[in-house]
Symmetry: C2
Subunit: 160 residues, 2 copies
DNA sequence: GCCAAAGTGTAGCCTATACTACACTTCATG
DNA sequence: CATGAAGTGTAGTATAGGCTACACTTTGGC
């Protein structure tokens, strides 16, 4: 990955080399490219948010807890935690639990806010509660800043 | 993949084994699991939709065209087409272009409709055009039937 | 203070999604 | 009708994300 494109702050230019053979139809191609890129950050975002949550509630975030909450094996969780460390989002020492760096915490905060906003919007347009929560889990990773802003504005008007 | 969970019709039970160690917190775990499963079908859906589009407009869908539109190398496109065939969604013979099976066409139709609905909803809540198109590309793959229904209802009311 | 259970970490394997590099068809054009 | 360009297919490689199996560390209960 290596790009700082995780939720607005500190974003950089285009993430990867734009594939060798794409002269025509750049619009749709770019669109799909971005969508794919988003996928690689989605998991990291979920982990950061969950770790922040565990840290806030229980005081500690253990690999097994994370694995359980996410429905994956602990081995998978540990691997992703390793990636989190590599990306500078978390710290962890053997048998000592996981913690977030500054970057990790701010990512978690942004992700949490975004999640709320998405769920609230879904509810506002009439999506039933459980579906809203469920779908938001997937949707939130693909919502741009522009869309987020629009959601926020829509909710503000609605609320009056 | 092997599951028929691609957009409502003909869905089956739970897709994979539910991971060995997940006794507690099943709600959130299930949620994440579903989200992950959705990812593997997302690409197939995009391909089916695009192939249908190419077939409808140009009359033929060639791997290179598909690759260009999606912004990937032709090799990648061919590999995914192979998977499409394996899943019974497409047919293709060497140097002869790609075609959709019945299942493939109906998938494409459902995906197209869903895409429209998502874009329309985003526009309806005030998301600017380009962002709506861009974000819908990612969002659409995570929108459940319940949410789709709600979107549709919301738009109907709005429109009056 | 020992020891088993719980948690942690590592290794090895799998699939999906990409890529580049190379080889083979097709087909248009001279 | 030969030939080269465009398109197609295959092989090999990499990374992300998942799994199981096995080994090691911590820690709680006796």
């Amino acid at each position: 990955m290596d790009d700082k494109t995780i939720l607005s702050p500190g974003r950089a230019g285009p993430p990867a080399a734009p594939a060798p053979d794409l002269p025509a139809e750049p619009t749709q191609a770019l669109r799909f490219g971005k969508t794919r890129t988003a996928q690689s950050t989605a998991l990291l975002e979920d982990y950061a948010e969950l770790i922040a949550d565990l840290l806030a509630t229980g005081g500690e975030a253990r690999p097994t807890d994370i694995a359980r909450r996410l429905g994956v094996s602990h081995a998978t969780a540990i691997k992703t935690i390793t990636r989190l460390k590599r990306e500078g989002l978390a710290t962890a020492r053997p048998y000592r639990g996981v913690f977030l760096t500054e970057a990790g915490e701010s990512l978690a905060a942004r992700v949490k806010l975004r999640h709320r906003l998405v769920v609230d919007l879904l509810l506002a347009v009439g999506v039933p509660g459980e579906a809203a929560e469920q779908d938001a889990e997937g949707i939130e990773h693909y919502v741009s800043d522009a869309t987020l802003t629009a959601f926020s504005a829509f909710l503000k008007i609605r609320r009056r």
